[in-house]
């Protein structure tokens, strides 16, 4: 179960270069307050509230910049809300990028353990699912090869396969189904359906409203950081498409 309670995320524009600041510039900024006024604030998310029950598959749609990815990053603990809170009941697996942490010089085998433990699996769990992972990814013959020799498709298959076999109670997916060839996409959709039916909670961010409609019963529509609509997928998608026209 996921409970999102009044979450807002504020970014300060004109402050993006913060990571490129030097000590001297920061010290200078303390003494001359002049540039403080030139900053403007903007809310990537604004008072977002919802609850997702155990075993629900929920889609999140919205235009670019509506805050979909920010929401997913907050639920994944990558970034934190400015105000509000969220509670997640269960292990969370978040797939914002497929194959996060893959290192090109390491073999497929080594990367399975690295990426799997990044997702939150123990090495024992990985060993238990190792054969399922490589056969789902169709890379059996190449596990001893450094993945820099893998094709793009093989990389994606392996990354998705590891995450799908992690079987977290809560699965957060960001546009990941937009990659890979048609056959593999179909395989992924089947796997997600299977996870959903066995009681996993799934949150799926996508631009593809058809996919949302066929995979999710419920859908949340974000617009400019706010929940515009929350309800049955067909109704929400219908309204969303109408507004886009």
């Amino acid at each position: 179960m996921i409970v999102v309670n009044n979450i807002s995320k504020k970014y300060t524009i004109g402050d993006q270069d913060l990571s490129l600041r030097t000590l001297r510039e920061t010290i200078a900024a303390v003494f001359s307050r002049s540039n403080v006024n030139s900053k403007s604030e903007f809310f990537s998310l604004k008072n977002v509230n919802f609850e997702i029950g155990k075993g629900e598959t929920v889609g999140i749609i919205g235009a670019n910049g509506a805050g979909k990815t920010t929401l997913l990053k907050i639920l994944s603990q990558i970034t934190f809300p400015t105000t509000g809170s969220a509670s997640l009941y269960g292990r969370v697996g978040s797939l914002i990028e497929i194959g996060a942490g893959f290192h090109p010089e390491l073999t497929g085998h080594e990367n399975i353990f690295l990426n799997g433990s990044l997702l939150g699996m123990t090495h024992n769990e990985i060993r238990g699912k190792y054969h399922e992972i490589i056969s789902f990814a169709e890379i059996e013959e190449f596990v001893k090869t450094p993945i820099k020799y893998y094709s793009n498709g093989m990389n994606i298959r392996l990354g998705f396969s590891i995450a799908a076999h992690f079987e977290p109670e809560i699965f957060l997916l960001d546009e990941v189904l937009a990659v890979g060839d048609i056959n593999f996409q179909a395989k992924c959709v089947k796997k997600i359906d299977q996870l959903a039916r066995s009681g996993h909670t799934i949150l799926l961010v996508s631009h593809d409203t058809d996919r949302i409609q066929s995979n999710c019963e419920r859908c949340i529509w974000l617009e400019r950081g706010e929940v515009k609509m929350d309800g049955r997928s067909d109704i929400v998608v219908n309204e969303y498409n109408k507004s886009a026209d």
Partner: protein, 293 residues
Amino acid sequence: MESELSKSFSQAEGEKASYDPETPLIRISPDKRWHDLDWRRIWRQKDLLKSFVLRDIRLRYRQTLLGVLWAIIQPLAPLVIYTIVFNRFFSEYNKGVPYSVYVFCGLVPWLYFSNAITQSGNSLSHHSYLLGKIYFPRLMLPMSSVIAGGLDFIVGFALLMILAIAYGIGIGFSILIVPFLWLLTAILALSIGAIFASMSVVFRDVRNLLPFAVQMVFFLTPVIYPPEALPQKWQWIVNINPVTGIIENVRAALLGGDFAWAALAVTLIWTIILSFIAMIVFARVQKHTADYI
């Protein structure tokens, strides 16, 4: 819709009551507290630490021209140079110990300490590509750098023992203090590295500052010279230096003589203070790494 939601909510509430205590509950909020370092998750995800360490070690030695030989060359090359250049300057302090062995006792812990600080201090910026993609306790990055360097320390220390035996220096039970000294060095280096890592997230020039600072501290540490070689009025520099307590005690353990307990106490005090500062600073910064980097 309303009733459906509340139904699913009460269902889940009922489940929460019978909640498996093993299953983690994640709560996300903007508060900053020192325990945000997420020790519980570090423990649960300790296999990730193992994966990071294995990756670092594999990448260090795979596909390099000399492979594992690097671990041997890295401490031996400076040893040879320091011995050639400084041997005659410090012969009066020798107490019968060959200068090369004396220097190596300082060089092995120093190389470990300085590499651990540099690697862990850069660990967050090196992994910026990961920080925006997936969550794991960020402290695991500097931790894994410090642990991965331990292999170099083990290799270096083995070389040191070979060198000592070659010079006919007997190895006694006092050597058992070395693992403890290593642990102390690791915690000290992790604390300093974590402070630098947090600062490097916010300030770009920390990356340039770090190697410079390490080089400066090298000359203020009795690695290539005995502490007694310093003039009386500058003695306090080596006395407050936290690395002195480590190096002097490695020397005592291997070359005989009394342990430098006072210097060890200084190291211990520094380690306690710096590890607290590191925890506070790192906990404050780690929640925002993805926003900055």
